[in-house]
Symmetry: C7
Subunit: 83 residues, 7 copies
């Protein structure tokens, strides 16, 4: 399951096309499908939703997110929540 | 719909001339037409409006916005709101 | 009106000699005539006035403003307010 | 026990595959198995759990964590807590 | 009066040996004679006084001030206040 | 006692293997034996203890501490407190 | 008295071996003898004392202080306070 992760960006690379949870420094979270990222951890999410305290606050669709606003990115926790 | 997005800046490039929503770290939002951007995510918006809690606070017209004040940029959510 | 803006700094270049509104991260605003700027968005304003909640707080005259304290710069909104 | 630590990153290198505690600037903590890190101290954790005031807040599984959100990383304190 | 200001640092260069007002991010202000500055906007002030809400808080004399603590520097406003 | 300190990092170099007190921006302190540091002032402490208001909050053992969370490092004050 | 100060770091160079006051962004102050500094304004102080609201909080002795925590450094104000 964790094969092939030698550098941190390998996890982001493996998560392209999958749903991810992004925890923001502001306290909010974004959930969406990872389309692209760069070395600044800027990411593009498709079908993004902004969450607050576990509830959907608003749908923001296709979005560009600045890397310096992120605490962590978790591809696994989205699927876990759905099961 | 998401064709052609290999790097995060591709989404901004595709959004030139379109209306975008910019979520600021200050909690406010700006809505306007994207005219230009650079690698620092500095952007120029035309017909920009400053929003707070979903209501228009003031019209600021043609404006230069520093990239380090931005959380996310969403081209899709503006059109979604209008439908 | 927006001709010639291919990069964000083009707007600042076009605004030299004109009155601009500068929104600061501190919540205050400065209004003044743009004399000069650099790639850090450091700017020099002439006849600058510090505004708070739409009222003039104090006149600070010819001033150097650090770029990392700025949220946005709006050349248009000053003239809009006057009409 | 502390053999082989000449530079700070040597400790992270020795901790690969082990459980670590990550203290975040936000006040929360993450506990998980260290899979990878880079010079920005970005880390990938497996089976990560978010802790607050010593209690598990939520399981976030395999996660990418930005280095600039970290205060300290402690491989030792996880095992100490378990004994 | 504003002749010779093509780049922001030109204003600081013209202000050497003159009294300036420095607005700090902390909310306080320093008033003193500008002796030296560098590209980080680090400055040396002579006869510096720390001001709070328009009143002198303490005299700190010859001082080195870090550039990243500054919002704006105003050579003009000091003389304006005195007239 | 202060012989051989020409550059700030010389003090850290002299403190290897000794107990140091690290004051964090968060307000907390860490006490531990300095094993390693780098030019970012990232440090590795052995037998580290987290202190708050002069009392031990928890033992975190061998730990990696990010340099950008530090206000000051004091090798002397640990021994002073013990005498 | 201010001879020889052409660049900001010249003041720090002249202050080696003298007592200085360091105003921190945290609101506290450090007073001590300047032993060394570098271009990041990291400094080493000997016989350092931490001050809060004009009173000594604790003696921290020989200490390394990170430059990014500093607002200003004042060699003059220490002697002024003593007179």
């Amino acid at each position: 399951m964790v094969n092939g992760i030698e550098r941190p960006l390998d996890l982001l690379n493996q998560s392209k096309g999958k749903e991810i949870l992004v925890q923001l420094k502001s306290g909010n979270q974004l959930v969406g499908t990872l389309l692209a990222f760069d070395i600044h951890i800027n990411v593009v999410l498709d079908n993004a939703k902004e969450m607050q305290d576990g509830e959907m606050k608003r749908s923001i669709g296709l979005s560009f997110l600045r890397g310096d606003t992120i605490i962590f990115i978790s591809p696994a926790s989205v699927s876990t929540d759905k099961k």
